[in-house]
């Protein structure tokens, strides 16, 4: 999948990964790659601005820890983020179902 196709859905995917619990950026990216079967391939550095944007929106918070002698930022999904994720996931599922119906060639429902 091209980076441009992924761009519009990155926030949803990041929130999905964070529903499993607090984690840092590198682990989020690895989990994203693993869950997608290596389909989602984009420059890893472009994920961090998205995480920061989610933080500004109040969907995630971050705390600093220390790992291997380095500062490490750990992201946690907020209640607001959890609610936003649930809403976006529902919207995505509806959209995907509708697209699949069109692609699947099922007839439009008639009013007759």
């Amino acid at each position: 999948m091209t980076p441009e196709a992924l761009k519009g859905h990155l926030d949803l995917l990041l929130l999905a990964v964070l529903t499993d619990g607090p984690t840092h950026g590198y682990a989020i990216i690895n989990e994203l790659r693993t869950r997608s079967g290596d389909t989602f391939d984009l420059p890893e550095g472009t994920v961090y601005p998205a995480l920061h944007r989610l933080q500004r929106a109040g969907y995630v918070t971050s705390t600093w820890t220390t790992a291997n002698g380095r500062r490490r930022r750990v992201y946690t999904l907020t209640d607001r983020g959890s609610a936003a994720f649930a809403t976006e996931r529902r919207a995505w599922q509806e959209f995907a179902t509708s697209v699949q119906q069109v692609l699947g060639g099922r007839p439009w429902p008639t009013t007759a």
Binding site: T2, P3, E4, K7, H24, G25, Y26, I29, D41, P43, E44, G45, T46, Y48, P49, A50, H52, R53, A67, N68, R70, R71, R72, R73
Partner: protein, 266 residues
Amino acid sequence: MAHHGLIASYLDELRANLPRTTDLDDVLAEVEDHLREVVAAHVRCGMDEQTAERHALGQFGSAEIVTRAFAAAQRGGIAMPTPVTRFAGLAAMIGGTSIIVVFGLASISQLDVGGTGRWFAPVATASFLLALVGLVGLHMRHRAIYSSLGRVGRWLIPFGVIGLIVSIATWFVIGGIVAQVMIAVGLVLVGIDVWGAGVMDRRALALVGISIPAVLVVAAFGTGQFDWATIASIVGFAGLGSGFAWLGHGLWREPARASAPPTAAV
């Protein structure tokens, strides 16, 4: 002793180019932590440290792409080049080159543009239209870095270009002068932002910036005779066209992907 030159250089580049509104120390700490983790993972797979650093940086993305991603996350814009932006770069290259040729020939030959030089108006119009397409592409790529100055400038430029095209077509001299001033001021304002952000080749920006006064001088003092104003015209439009072509080339040659994923060493 571990070799950390590549990552340190990368972090220095990010520090120099990240938007000023970014919390630099935190962002760089996070980036460094990520890169060191990736390097450690590659080393565990059997890669030597220097190769692991190169692969880690390749996976992470060029400093330019990451810088744009941070800027785009703050203000909108395109972090990655697209076929549209690359086409715009090509248009700027062609338009810039055409500006050099058209205005250079017109200046040197003291063209009777109302008579035998009827080709001048449509060709000059087409040249500026192509340059405008290129400017649109540059705007799409880099609009995330605009301050309030740049946002004013980005509106002056297209209106100035449209005014210039209309003035060329209708031989409205004063309108042409006003339009050129609008374009020049717009370019300066946008140029200030772009120069500070470092997202375009500064030499090309400097060339455009230096050329603007020459073009304005011709607009204000040109007499139609082969004099110092004509020389300034040749120099000015040559510089302006070269600068546009140079910027367009930078936009055109951007790859679609910032990096290729490395193959894992088994």
